[in-house]
Point group: C2
């Protein structure tokens, strides 16, 4: 388990995300630009699991921070892109990722951490302290070209 | 209606946020540091409404962007801190803020825009295209010192 590296373009990182949703045909230049944008902001903690022998990335989870003015300029956190390679399911890798991310968020001084998930995953996340707090979560989507 | 300015510390910006939730006693140095951090990231679009005669800030809404790898390195958007001074309610200021923010998000290429709100505000937001999409939204909070 380690932070995402700019070399992970070659280690199957995007193929792993493809198991979660569409990624598209991202060129290495676009990868590097996106990676640098995330690094430079200091607000993304992308934690991956690497299979040591093959260097293949088999797990991912992103902690994304937001700077607030409220609550004495506190940080807000969000968990995004949690995915474990389907060939590595059932080995506790998702649990390891979530345990680390929740501890990392608390260590960084995050006051509130949230995520969106499919209904059948609520039980999985509840074991790490998440719950439905009764607020309403509303979404709208705009057309994309890809 | 204009972007938040570093001078707005003196224009009652934090007092307006205080109508939404606790803000705390933020010194001007901390304000400037937080403001600069947001500006430098390029990911925050804070739109305020200024009362022309007094320069008082009477409305606020923040569009916060997240850089993704998925969907060809798309941008994700979130609406935060929507508040109108209670003395200016019923004048359509909230509607003006939301109309601008949704148009801004679409203009910037955001593929998905979301917000959290209290149950009684769902109807207000639905008129701007938001809806509950059936996903689960889970939250956990950590202790704060303020």
């Amino acid at each position: 388990m380690r932070p995402l590296s700019s070399n992970d373009y070659k280690n199957g990182y995007l193929a792993l995300l493809e198991q979660l949703t569409t990624v598209g045909d991202i060129h290495e230049i676009q990868w590097k630009k996106t990676f640098d944008r995330m690094c430079n902001s200091g607000m993304y903690y992308v934690v991956v699991i690497e299979e040591i022998n093959t260097h293949k990335i088999v797990g991912n989870s992103t902690l994304f921070l937001e700077q607030k003015f409220i609550h004495n300029c506190v940080l807000r956190g969000r968990v995004e892109e949690v995915v474990v390679d389907k060939e590595y399911n059932g080995q506790g890798l998702g649990k390891a990722l979530m345990t680390l991310l929740v501890a990392l968020a608390e260590h960084l001084g995050v006051y509130k951490l949230s995520l969106e998930c499919r209904p059948h995953l609520v039980g999985f996340y509840e074991q790490f302290g998440y719950k439905n707090d009764g607020g309403q979560y509303l979404v709208q989507r705009f057309p994309r070209s890809d």
